[in-house]
């Protein structure tokens, strides 16, 4: 049930409860203190305009086109999306889901990524256990999310909620990866500039980060980061719809 703005404008004053004698106060109950100091009397107009402003904010939040905010989509699940929002959801869903699927298949099947030429032996797999675990967990998170979302929308059909949620989740993954890349690049730039002052070659910094023990730790941190990104993006898909929404 939603509060419509017409009710607000019809009423001249909001309902402030007052301590009248018409209430159930019996004269024997003199122990009950009469509340003479009520809340400071507000001007009817200012309270109205404050409520009207808050109402405007709520309306704006309700009809906002959400592209990478799955929690917001779940919060406002009782508001159906407009056709333009659904169009945007569809287009961005196509793009980001294809990107994610391409990255996944890239890692599984492309021999140039998976294999490495070892001298004396030929091409050998260069896949570590942590790579495989990362692929497995991200695929698990995505499939469980989609499965639960489909189950919920089948039970309680809300107009185009499923596509909105899925589009937001996939876009959220892409946006989070972009943010992570930008932060890491910013850190690297700081490192590069601090090294360049010492008149050394900056490429050794990248070599140090990709090889050696530091490289292993960085790649493990990257795997953990991508699992966390997927989990946070798809966690709103599990949340249940119900009849009251």
């Amino acid at each position: 049930m939603s509060i419509s703005p017409e009710i607000l404008t019809e009423q001249s004053t909001p309902h402030i409860p007052q301590n009248n004698a018409s209430l159930d106060n019996k004269p024997e109950d003199s122990a009950i203190p009469q509340d003479t100091s009520s809340s400071p009397p507000l001007n009817d107009k200012s309270e109205n305009s404050a409520l009207a402003r808050e109402w405007q904010l709520m309306e704006k939040q309700r009809h906002k086109i959400r592209l990478c905010d799955p929690r917001g989509v779940y919060f406002y699940r009782h508001i159906p999306c407009g056709w333009f929002a659904s169009l945007l959801h569809f287009v961005t869903l196509l793009i980001s889901s294809l990107l994610i699927a391409a990255a996944f298949l890239f890692w599984l099947f492309l021999p140039k990524v998976v294999e490495v030429d070892v001298i004396g032996v030929g091409s050998v797999a260069n896949v570590t256990i942590i790579d495989a675990l990362e692929l497995f967990f991200t695929a698990l998170i995505v499939t469980i999310g989609i499965h639960r979302l489909v189950r919920q929308t089948r039970k309680f059909s809300v107009k185009r909620y499923g596509m909105a949620m899925l589009a937001n989740a996939c876009n959220r993954v892409i946006v989070s990866y972009l943010k992570l890349t930008i932060y890491v690049s910013a850190l690297l730039m700081v490192g590069v500039f601090s090294v360049l002052e010492n008149e050394q070659d900056a490429s050794f910094l990248f070599e140090r980060l990709s090889n050696g023990v530091v490289g292993d730790v960085v790649s493990v941190m990257g795997s953990v980061a991508s699992i966390i990104i997927f989990y946070r993006a798809f966690s709103s898909c599990h949340k249940e719809l119900s009849l009251c929404d």
Binding site: G120, S123, T143, G212, V213, D216, V217
Partner: protein
């Protein structure tokens, strides 16, 4: 639901299948070590066999002056000492670690305590003393990245007394 998980596990096992069919062309007489390996993508149960394969191929290449990736292999050997151990070790890296360590052990076994092999004209009682283990790996990984032969590696690792 179980079908989904099973199909995903199947997908992951495709990673194994992809690499089992990969082109492998073992150098020299090392086919025996190659047969002993488990045909899987991961290093879990076959680290020893992979290192043996690396040792065999590394020594065979060194003897014919064809080991051009010795410094890379020793970089990988240094990496393998990380906190995560076998979790970040792949098959290719295990073979390379085997190559580096195998070369170092070969030089040590062949030359440590041996007299210098000068020609008969110059007699000398100098003897080689070679390093091995972690110090040798660290020393080799700092060298410039080019091709190495047996004598060059011997001169790097061994001192004359």
């Amino acid at each position: 639901m179980r079908l989904i998980i099973l199909s995903m596990l199947f997908c992951l096992s495709m990673v194994n299948a992809n690499s089992a069919l990969a082109k492998v062309d073992v150098y020299g007489d090392c086919k025996q070590q190659y047969q002993g390996m488990v045909a899987s993508s991961f290093v879990l149960f076959s680290k020893k066999e992979l290192m043996e394969l690396g040792t065999c191929t590394g020594v065979a290449l060194l003897k014919r002056n064809r080991l051009s990736t010795l410094v890379y292999s020793c970089n990988e050997a240094q990496e393998a000492r990380s906190v995560f151990g076998i979790a970040t070790l792949s098959k290719a890296e295990a073979i390379q670690v085997g190559q580096c360590v195998g070369v170092i052990n070969y030089i040590y076994d062949r030359y440590d305590g041996e007299r210098l092999d000068y020609s008969a004209y110059r007699r000398s009682n100098y003897v080689y003393s070679c390093i091995r283990g972690r110090a040798a790996v660290d020393l080799l990984s700092k060298e410039p990245k080019r091709s190495y032969g047996r004598n060059t590696v011997r001169d790097l690792l061994c001192d004359r007394h």
